[in-house]
């Protein structure tokens, strides 16, 4: 009984499949292309921040390594510390400031909604 009803109801729903809507299909593909471009644009600054953070870590690690295993500066009367005014320290400071600036640029637009094309 129910099966028969369901069969008759299904027949009510029977309708030919509409023709392909070229404009609709084009719009969807264009939106997908735009969506990919937006996602790539968002991903790029993060990749840059990652790279710079890695570079900063590498420089820092080299700095520590050289400070521990480099030529004996104590013999030259410089002790174990590296002067804050030394070119190496200034280089580190510049790199740090650059990375902070890059990180701020990379994350600044995160919460902003991109306009959606229709």
């Amino acid at each position: 009984m129910t099966d028969d009803l369901d069969r008759r109801l299904a027949a009510l729903f029977d309708e030919p499949v509409p023709a392909l809507d070229e404009a609709f299909a084009h719009r969807i593909v264009a939106l997908a292309r735009y969506d990919s471009a937006v996602r790539d644009a968002r991903r790029r600054p993060f990749a840059r921040v990652r790279k710079e953070a890695l570079a900063l870590f590498a420089v820092g690690a080299s700095f520590v390594f050289l400070a521990q295993h480099g030529p004996d500066t104590a013999a030259a009367g410089l002790g174990d510390s590296i002067s804050l005014g030394s070119p190496a320290m200034l280089g580190m400071l510049t790199l740090l400031l650059g990375s902070i600036a890059a990180a701020r640029t990379g994350t600044g637009d995160r919460g902003r909604q991109q306009p959606i094309m229709t």
Partner: protein, 183 residues
């Protein structure tokens, strides 16, 4: 356009899986072929589901599918996956809109204007519009798309018993449309 050739015939599961795999890697030609393969049936489904908002729901669903293509595991059909996304997008939209407003039946009859069964279809659209959203979705999936109750339950993400209740309510509301119709 390259994708036009794909519309000429129905793809088998292997071809479709290959297209999905390529599209998931960002191949827009493959995605275009998938859109052309499915958009007509998907729009027919969403227009019945969401009335005049149907094309917007289909668009939302296809874009959401594009973003989530890598998550399609190929366990069911791609068409069913699209309908799952479309149904969820529709329910989300209705929830966001307050869900109290009745759905407007489809006004744009478009190329159905010369259809001899037009009156009956308008009556069906109206009856569907008067149903609750979940009942309507269940009726469309089972009666309109031919999925079994188990498939429809999985598609809607509800237990089988709930699906059967939804179908029973939808059936009761649609039965009056059968008067005078002999299949």
């Amino acid at each position: 356009m390259a994708g036009a050739a794909w519309r000429a015939r129905v793809l088998n599961a292997g071809e479709e899986a290959e297209l999905v795999r390529r599209a998931a890697k960002g191949d827009l030609t493959a995605f275009s072929a998938l859109v052309r393969q499915h958009e007509s049936k998907l729009r027919r489904f969403t227009r019945r589901l969401a009335g005049d908002e149907g094309d917007d729901v289909a668009q939302d669903a296809l874009l959401a599918a594009w973003r989530a293509l890598s998550q399609w595991r190929g366990e069911g059909s791609f068409a069913a996956w699209l309908r799952t996304i479309a149904t969820r997008r529709f329910l989300d939209r209705r929830r966001a809109a307050g869900a109290v407003a009745l759905l407007a039946p489809l006004e744009d009859i478009g190329d159905r204007a010369c259809d001899p069964g037009l009156e009956q279809r308008i009556a069906l659209d109206r009856a569907l519009a008067a149903l609750g959203q979940r009942e309507r979705a269940a009726a469309l999936i089972v009666f309109g798309e031919g999925y079994t109750h188990s498939e429809a339950a999985a598609l809607l993400g509800v237990p089988l018993g709930t699906l059967k209740s939804l179908i029973a309510r939808a059936r009761a509301a649609l039965i009056p449309l059968l008067e005078g119709v002999h299949v």
